[in-house]
């Protein structure tokens, strides 16, 4: 067992600052992605305030790109339903991340937990999980990381909105691979022994197989569930 479920939350300013700092490694990648999403919003014909509202309220780069891709000049209810459905499909992995937040956020007042979950993104979640697996319990760290990421995201999408035409291809400098690289780096602190690694092997195999067979992003959901259940059952069985 690696969890530290007994630790009580407390909120500190130094925790918030630490969280902000933990957000820095991913900030460049999120901002590069933000430039692209901002430019796409402008190209689609959204006003600046519409773009800003979407970036803050939805705050899910891939979902927004996919939605903007199919966004017609005149919306119909059918298109709106399709956009909502696509948003759900692309965001499905966030549901699993939300599940994993229960042991930690379940200890705090509901309003705080549900406010915090608004800021749940791949990056904030990874930072939170890593901090938590190191034994941390200060919820301000989560909000600090969310602040860095949201600020970087909003700034970059705004720049992208106005400077869209001038943006160079982010792939040229490897910016499009920042998130995968950050995910890979996070694997190291999440390492919890060889026994758990079998769960990763099983989950990874399922993910690769599903990615080949099923279109879309379902491979993340399928692989994650398979890996977690396998890992959970391979863990020392002491009831």
């Amino acid at each position: 067992m690696t969890s530290s479920e007994t630790k009580r939350d407390k909120s500190t300013w130094s925790g918030f600052v630490l969280g902000m700092r933990l957000g820095f490694p991913v900030a460049p990648g999120i901002m590069a992605f933000g430039l692209v999403v901002g430019a796409a919003a402008a190209r689609t014909g959204l006003s600046f305030f519409q773009s800003l509202a979407m970036n803050f309220l939805v705050c899910s780069g891939i979902a927004q790109l996919v939605a903007l891709e199919i966004w017609p000049p005149v919306l119909t209810w059918g298109v709106i339903a399709t956009i909502a459905l696509l948003t759900a499909v692309v965001g499905a992995r966030l549901f699993l991340m939300s599940v994993a937040m229960r042991p930690w956020f379940g200890q705090m007042p509901a309003w705080q937990a549900y406010a915090g979950l608004f800021f749940l993104t791949d990056a904030t979640w990874l930072i939170a999980m890593r901090y938590r697996s190191d034994g941390g319990g200060d919820v301000a760290v989560y909000f600090g990381a969310a602040a860095t990421i949201m600020a970087g995201w909003l700034a970059a999408t705004a720049i992208g909105f106005f400077a869209g035409g001038f943006i160079v291809d982010p792939a040229r400098y490897g910016f499009d691979l920042v998130m995968p690289a950050f995910f890979a780096a996070m694997l190291v602190p999440l390492w919890a022994g060889a026994r758990r690694a079998w769960g990763w092997v099983i989950g990874g195999a399922v993910a690769v197989a599903v990615e080949r067979l099923v279109p879309g992003w379902w491979f993340i959901v399928a692989g994650s569930i398979a890996g977690a259940v396998a890992g959970g059952y391979l863990d020392e069985p002491e009831e």
Binding site: T2, M54, F95, R102, A113, V178, L187, W200
Partner: protein
């Protein structure tokens, strides 16, 4: 009705996306409120982060081409070696840019 959509359609679509995303972000946490956190469940939940990470990067490293593979492997290696996530990400990006340049 469609006249409304011409005026407010974009806002309605943004609101729909926001509602769906928040429902997903809060939904998993909410649902787990009804599942007793037994030792087994905790064990599965604590295995979830690593599994999500593997499920995201492995298909990418396998199928995403040489640049993605280079980024993932380099970042992993640098992180294992010096435990600095910023350096790991920078090196991963550098490796991808290098692979693409040649």
């Amino acid at each position: 009705m469609n006249a409304d959509l011409a005026t407010f359609g974009t806002w309605i679509a943004i609101a729909a996306m926001a509602a769906v995303t928040y429902a997903i972000r809060a939904g998993g946490f909410w649902l787990m409120g009804y599942v007793p956190l037994t030792r087994r469940v905790r064990s599965i939940l604590s295995a979830l982060p690593g599994s999500v990470v593997v499920a995201v990067i492995l298909p990418l490293a396998v199928r995403g081409g040489a640049a993605a593979t280079a980024a993932v492997l380099t970042s992993l290696a640098v992180m294992a070696w010096c435990r600095n996530d910023l350096l790991a990400v920078v090196c991963g990006m550098g490796a991808a840019a290098l692979v693409r340049a040649f």
